[in-house]
């Protein structure tokens, strides 16, 4: 069956890797985000790598008024509709502490904006009885830490949302993959102190592609983060609350 991938937050390096991979399988791609110049370049790149149709679209998670145009465009595609959400923002926790309005912004970018978009999109998938939603959550959502707990909270919320959505889509033949990356070498983390075991965005993209084809529910990428997080989530709160990791 013909596959179409809508990629939200398509300027992210992880998204670029994933969009390229699905392009090489011959899927149509719609690259959505805010930097139209960049998205147009990405579209040309995906087309030359094999996507029969590759198109840039404007998408701002904070502006739901624009969502309708995307739904319409995608509804006109034949075959299976799939969507991958790479949107997210991680301001410095210190900046959020200074400006509480950033709490709303972070949560809107990383959770409520994408969730609202998906609420409107998923019925299109249900109609067709197929398709996959990929949502990028984060290991940061597994436990709140002093360094980025607002971002972590947004990602935790998004992960919970995705698990519910999986419950819903499974009934009609669709699927949802929750992706929890560890540290990935992208613009978001470039030059940040304290990075270790940093994965390349293309390795993450490869893991995501594999998870989609194997219908995994939740993946950690690289895989060993599952064990790191297993330990971190099992540290008793009495001790954890005094730690700074």
């Amino acid at each position: 069956m013909k596959q179409t991938w809508l990629i939200l937050g398509a300027s992210s390096a992880m998204a670029r890797g994933f969009a390229r991979r699905v392009s090489e399988t011959g899927a149509d791609v719609f690259l959505a985000g805010r930097d139209m110049d960049d998205l147009n370049r990405a579209a040309a790149d995906c087309h030359l790598r094999g996507a029969p149709l590759a198109e840039a679209m404007r998408f701002d998670a904070r502006k739901p008024a624009g969502f309708g145009a995307i739904y319409e465009k995608l509804a006109a595609q034949d075959g299976a509709l799939n969507v991958a959400v790479f949107v997210g923002s991680m301001p410095d926790q210190a900046d959020i502490d200074k400006d509480p309005a950033l709490v709303d912004a972070t949560i809107m970018d990383s959770f409520t904006g994408p969730a609202r978009f998906l609420q409107g999109f998923v019925p299109l998938m249900e109609e067709r009885g197929c398709g996959t939603v990929v949502g990028i959550a984060s290991v940061a959502g597994d436990r709140g830490r002093i360094g980025n707990y607002v971002y972590g909270a947004a990602k935790a919320g998004f992960a919970t949302y995705l698990s519910g959505l999986r419950n819903r889509l499974t009934r009609v033949g669709g699927h949802v993959v929750t992706v929890k990356p560890g540290f990935v070498d992208t613009a978001m983390t470039w030059g940040l102190p304290g990075m270790f075991l940093v994965a390349s965005p293309d390795d993450v993209a490869r893991d995501i592609q594999k998870a989609v084809s194997k219908k995994k529910n939740t993946i950690y990428t690289p895989f060993f983060w599952r064990y790191i997080m297993l330990i971190i989530t099992h540290i008793p709160e009495m001790i954890f609350k005094k730690m700074s990791i």
């Binding site: 300027s11 790598r49 992208t186 613009a187 940040l192």
Partner: protein, 440 residues
């Protein structure tokens, strides 16, 4: 854009720099940071020495600006952003019947890096990389982007090809790909007994791609023995699966490349080829980028790293110079197994381009006290023979040596100083070798 402060090294890991690097993932980020900061571009750090190092300064890592922009299947003209690797271009376009006309020995070199060192391949008749560049967009010190072509802006074109980043940041380039009939190579390997035979065989080879591996530990009647590898495109052969890449997990211990081990390895490597020679069908990338199958192979030289010496020698003097060099190298017990002799075409696209009609000879030396002296002597022989050494590989040359080897250095200095009057793009190599003519 956040800057990352870190140490980074040339591929040989002898020279390193500590500085701030930005790695824009999109053009808008680069253009925004350019308003505040002009700095030299760096690619995938596959140059061995300090061509891409800027100690105490800033640098712009181009590897994330790596998109394909346009391709014309009728003409084979490709436009792409400068950070894409040459191996990625080959991977994508070989199944469509096209590859970059000139391919260096590593697929990890970026398009921008290939232009900036005007790289050469195993097909000397095709000339240098820059000769197949139709145009590029150059972000200059004045903040403007210029389309540079060999005809309309010859000065700037010739100062940028092989110009190790001194004219600005190459954002994207249009290159002519070569059409290729299949993704499979028919490779003929021949054992060669000595240097004289080797040079004659390289000279007489009609294969489109040709490269010689030399046992640099051999002396006397065996001096210059090795294996000649000739590749041409195989038709109707089922494509073998390319070998998967392995990684060297850590620095190798010191004895790993010590003289007895290298001698032993070389003998075994040579005997791999039957006396009658052999033919093999190989995946294209295994033929063009054999070392890429071992990621981080530079760690085999251990923590101290290694030097590479590469010279080009004109036809008339090459034999005598090579005999002297190989003798000296075999007696030094410093050689590594990676020693390569190739034919070199006259084609060159820039003022500081390395190629010259004749032969190219390259080998690695594990870093150590005796290396500088030996390489100094090899450079001296190169100079006397009318040859030159390759900036992409150099760690040890002196300003005087380079000035004597590169006739067009004064023109280069004038052109780049006009393009970048405040020397924003100067790098460690430029300072070490006085390539901007400012003195030490």
């Amino acid at each position: 854009m956040r800057w990352k402060t870190a140490e980074y090294k040339g591929w040989g890991r002898v020279l390193s720099a500590r500085g701030d690097t930005a790695r824009p993932e999109r053009l808008a980020t680069l253009k925004a940071l350019w308003k505040e900061t002009k700095a030299p571009a760096i690619g995938n750090l596959r140059s061995y020495g300090d061509a891409a190092l800027n100690d105490g300064g800033k640098a712009i890592d181009m590897t994330r600006l790596d998109r394909l922009i346009a391709f014309d299947p009728d003409t084979g003209i490709l436009e792409a952003e400068a950070g894409i690797t040459i191996g990625e271009i080959a991977r994508i376009f070989a199944p469509k019947g096209w590859i970059p006309t000139v391919l260096p020995g590593t697929g990890f070199a970026t398009l921008g890096g290939c232009i900036s060192n005007d790289v050469h391949g195993k097909n000397h008749k095709a000339g240098s990389f820059g000769q197949h560049v139709i145009s590029f967009d150059l972000l200059g010190a004045n903040g403007r982007v210029r389309k540079v072509t060999p005809d309309a802006t010859p000065e700037l074109f010739r100062a940028t090809c092989g110009g190790i980043g001194q004219t600005g940041v190459i954002l994207s380039a249009k290159i002519q790909l070569a059409s290729i009939g299949s993704e499979v190579m028919d490779v003929r390997e021949t054992r060669v007994e000595n240097l004289t035979e080797f040079m004659a065989l390289l000279d007489g080879s009609t294969a489109p791609y040709c490269v010689g591996w030399i046992d640099a530990t051999a002396k006397g009647e065996h001096l210059g023995r090795g294996i000649l590898e000739e590749g041409s495109v195989a038709y109707n052969a089922p494509p073998p699966k390319p070998k998967s890449a392995k990684s060297v997990p850590m620095n190798a211990p010191r004895f790993f490349l010590s003289s007895p081990i290298v001698r032993l390895f070389n003998q075994l490597y040579l005997r791999r080829i039957p006396v009658m020679g052999q033919r093999r069908i190989r995946a294209m990338q295994d033929f063009f980028f054999p070392l890429d199958k071992v990621l981080n192979w530079n760690r085999l030289y251990g923590k101290p790293g290694f030097h590479q010496f590469q010279c080009a020698l004109p036809d008339g003097t090459a034999h005598e110079a090579l005999v002297r060099m190989m003798d000296m190298i075999a007696s030094s017990h410093l050689a590594s197994p990676l020693t390569v002799l190739k034919r070199m075409g006259t084609g060159r696209a820039g003022m500081m381009s390395f190629p010259m009609g004749g032969y190219s000879f390259a080998l690695d030396f594990p870093n150590g006290k005796a290396v500088a002296g030996l390489v100094g002597e090899l450079e001296e022989i190169t100079l006397q023979a009318g040859g030159r050494i390759y900036l992409a590989k150099d760690t040890l040359a002196t300003p005087e040596m380079i000035a004597a080897m590169y006739d067009e250095l004064p023109e280069f200095i004038a052109a780049v100083n006009a393009a970048d009057p405040e020397h924003k793009f100067a790098t460690d190599m430029v300072r070490r070798l006085n390539l901007r003519g400012t003195g030490k």
